[in-house]
């Protein structure tokens, strides 16, 4: 069953006087619980695809369909609610709120949703990510790897259906990167979450069940592991 899909998706940018087709008519669907890596060279449009799919950016044309509903029909507030309840994001630069502690950053989406924190679940996530001792620190007191773990925990806090990760290991050293990646894989399996991960690192991509390769805004290859 498709959890999210896009149809003839286009995203154009103005670069000087030229129009750049960052995403150029992509149609693709993602199944519930799958782990998909989107890969391609720099400037190929992979990150843009992720941003448009996750509603961080609006498409120039085409549709993003989540759970059978077109996102183009959502207003700003509905999109905010969707992001805080159904989507989780992990950025390359972690993007933690600097003034909040690790724990506060993690539960931020739940608090924005004015819901009660599911303590057992959050503790499990914290446990799995191994960040129990860093929760009282402000992000500036944490290492890159620790910050990224907090960011993953935040992305999982509301039990999302989809986890979008944009170069989550890009800022980390090899060891930390590997750890973060295996954690992502583990939590998506553990909690049954679709993981769409953008990377230019083939080693990372190879960990995925499905690899979509993009060049010049178009999908050039879409392969499943073992195929």
């Amino acid at each position: 069953m498709n959890i999210i899909e896009c149809v003839d998706l286009r995203k154009e940018y103005l670069s000087g006087e030229n129009i750049v087709n960052a995403v150029d008519g992509i149609t693709v669907a993602f199944e519930q619980g799958e782990f998909c890596a989107v890969t391609g060279p720099s400037g190929s449009g992979k990150s843009t695809l992720l941003h448009v799919l996750s509603s961080l950016e609006n498409p120039t044309s085409g549709d993003v369909i989540y759970n059978g509903k077109k996102l183009s029909g959502y207003n700003d507030n509905q999109l905010s609610v969707l992001r805080r309840r159904r989507f989780g994001f992990v950025f390359q630069a972690y993007n933690l709120v600097q003034e909040l502690t690790g724990y506060e950053n993690i539960v931020l989406p739940v608090m924005l949703d004015k819901k009660k924190v599911d303590e057992a679940y959050i503790n499990k996530v914290i446990d799995v990510l191994g960040i129990g001792d860093r929760l009282e620190h402000l992000p500036s007191a944490l290492s890159g790897g620790q910050q990224q773990r907090i960011a993953i925990a935040r992305a999982l806090a509301n039990k999302p259906s989809i986890l979008f990760a944009d170069e989550p290991t890009g800022n980390l050293d090899g060891k930390s990167g590997r750890e973060v990646l295996s954690l992502l894989k583990y939590v998506s399996k553990e909690f049954g979450i679709t993981l769409i991960l953008v990377t230019h690192d083939l080693n990372v991509a190879e960990q995925a069940e499905r690899i979509i390769s993009i060049e010049d805004g178009k999908i050039v290859r879409d392969t499943k592991a073992g195929v």
Partner: protein, 945 residues
Amino acid sequence: MNKKRLTVNRLAMGNLKARKKQYTLMIIGIVLAMIFSSGVMFFVFSALSSFNELDKLSFGNQDAVLMNAQYYNFDRAIENDLIDDYSFAHAIGYGYNEETGEESGSLMAWYDEDAYELSYVGLREGRYPEKAGEIAFERDALVRMKLNAQIGDKITLTVKTPKSENYLSETVEKTYTLVGILHDKRSNIESEFSLNIDQFEYPAIMLSAEEKIENGGEERLVAFIDFAGKDDFNTQWHIKEAIIAEMEERGLVDNEAVNSTVPPSKILYFNGDTHISTQSLQNTEENIRMTTILAVVLTTVLLLASCVGIVNAFNSNLQERRKQIGMLRAVGATKQQIVKVFGREAIIISLCATPLSLLISYFAVKIIIGFMGEGFVFIPEWWVLIVCGLFGIICVMAAALIPLIRASAVSPMQAIRNIDYSRKMKNKRVKSQTKFNAPNLIASRNLMFRKGRQIGVSFILVATIIISGFGFAFIEKEAERMNSFYNDFDYAFESSGGTVGSDIFNCKWGVKYSDFSESVKQEILSLPYVKTVGGIKTCMANIVFDGENSDYMRLMSMYYGNSYGRYETESIDTYEEYVNQLTKTKNKRYLAFSNEVFGGKEFYSSDIHSFEPSDIEEIEKYVTDGKIDIDKLNSGEEIILFAPQKIGYRFEHYENENGEGLISGIIDISDGIKEEDAPYIGETAELSYKAGDVVNISVLSSDITPQELTDEVIIPDDIKANNKQVKIGAIVNSIPQNSRWVQEMNFLTTNSGMNHFYENHPYLNMYITLKNDCTEEVDGEMTYILNQYTSGNGYRIYSKFQSNQEKRNTIFALYIIIISVVVLFFSTAASIINNSLTAQIRESKREIGTLRAVGASAKELTQSYFRQLLSMFGWGCAAGFGLYTVLWIIMYFVAKSTDMSFDYKYQIWQAALICIALLAVCFVNLYSKVKKQMKYSIVENIREL
């Protein structure tokens, strides 16, 4: 590539050009902050100069004016170090229009060259007379004489020629060409002009020095004197004494009259407070001291606020500039080079902002002073602009360079990363909240880490609150002084006597002399320009006590020199004697009235004053007990008692020149006797009456005139008594601004109420107010009409029309000043607060993006920033109102301990309104800024940094 072209200037300019929008906003912020200080200070000082100029035009530049000065030898006064300078106006005639009569005329004089400067004659239009046949008029005199002339017109006057203290019997008709219109001197527009024309007249008509006096006449001199010492009471007294001594020497002084005036010379002090018909100059020195204190507070607050504003404007892109420094250092720029680049940038900014702000300040002040109305001239105080300009430049340089020098001292990467902020966060321990309102928590953490910004905003709010608090209190005080119940008339008919004659009963003179019955009042009221006519009646009334007279009443008797005890005293040598006199001794008249009229009962002689109901209602706010009920006053059922709560006496012991010890008793009705006042302690007595008490009032009257009242006549044969029992409806302890001189321990009621005590009592004084839109021509017309009523009945008209107009203009000007200052404050405060928020939003783009990515909507983001705004306002307002309160209390006590006058109200509602309006403006700006960020995609928010 041409390496030479990459100069420090080019780098600095390149920086400016590349961030045009940000720098424009920054320069606007700086300009506003500088206008804030320079504009307000320039304005205040220019306005003060303008007020000062107006004051000199109205009162002259001299310390005193001496009429009939031809008898006095001024050179001797200079030799004796009494005066520094003097100059004359030579009165060679008294001119009037035949149609409006002698009373409307004025002395005509030509001026010595120095007299122009000393008397500070000012031209409204045209020029001074230069040759014979030319004439200049004070504007009011022209109107008063209904001459209706323009510059260049011919004017025909009937001229009386002075001789000695009088005039030649023959008058002559003379025709002059009007060449100038002069500024009105206060003495002429607020004068008792229907009194004898040769007294207290300040020339309102100017002639040229070529003009000759008629044959047989003697010119009369008006001297303008500059005192050698300070213009204070002592100097004035010494000069007066010297004049008297000299007059005596020449046999020109009637010794018995010296205490009141100095005939035949008469001194009018215009710049002191000894003899002046207006109250406006009373307490001048105190006002100046108070104003100086206020000016110092204002200047300090303004400069600090301006400094905060400039620092704030720079802070708005400080982080970005820090990054630039990091980049420059990363590519090898030395610290000196960086300081040069950014120093140059700061100079360029100063050079843009300073002249711009000074120019705007200059023109803004010019325009505002133009709005302040006629009479106000723009007198620029250049030094203020220069000082503010220099201060601004220093401030801009400091604000620009200090943080950047600090930034250039750290490593390039640290500068890029905003190491200060990161360090602050690293070192801060916070406890995680397990449950929180996300917008509120983010707001409070932001405030925790960005305290500097909050302090800046708080400071500007504090300044706004303090300035508006004192500013509006100042205006209110001035407006109240001008519009108070006792000062709000345009004309007054005042009798020169009233109930004088007896202090126990009403004589014929006091009661029936006046023609001002109710019908005259109605007649005046029906005149076309008259808005209101208020009348005052006064009659003697005795309170008759059933039991023993109280100490309070005895002391009050002593205080006012009434019938109890006082006249028996020859000298007091001991306290016992004094106390005895105060409390025991009764004089012959008192005993006679007590025994023969009041059946042996004790009594106190007071007055009943009656007013219009509207005037009585104005007293309502001073009521300390009971309530004013106009109907009950009208029906004679109730009366208002005006009496202090406490009265006390104390003694002072001093030695005379022979070394003999003397005792002097002092009675104080303000607040009783305090221990620190009384080395020889007396006693304090409390008022025993309460609202609701019933008093026996006996109004005695006789047909005897004051002239017939001799020492032999103690009780006239025809004495009649109107005895009434009346309830005290309300008690008033004091009436501030009591310029109608109602004395304490008297009764007040309405004019209708008066009929129950003394029927058909004529009005003692009448106060006339004109409709608001009346012009000077109307004033001339009214003066003419009202003069008809006064002829021959001993009343005089006291006109305040012109001076009221001037005062209204002054109040209007003050409003313009304060409102302009507050508007400027408002815009600067709004700019600083908005700058601060905008900078924060710009710096927090990434955070905004992050929050949006995790599901925060526009509402939550706005809420978070609004919470920060509210917190800044909360602290700022609390500090502002707190500091204002503290300052107010300090000023109150300083004034109290140094006997300065401080009657500024504690005024906060305007400041509160301003804060609310500021909050609203900032909220709108905040909302639009957040909305703007929401227009960008989340990715753009996150990436833009």
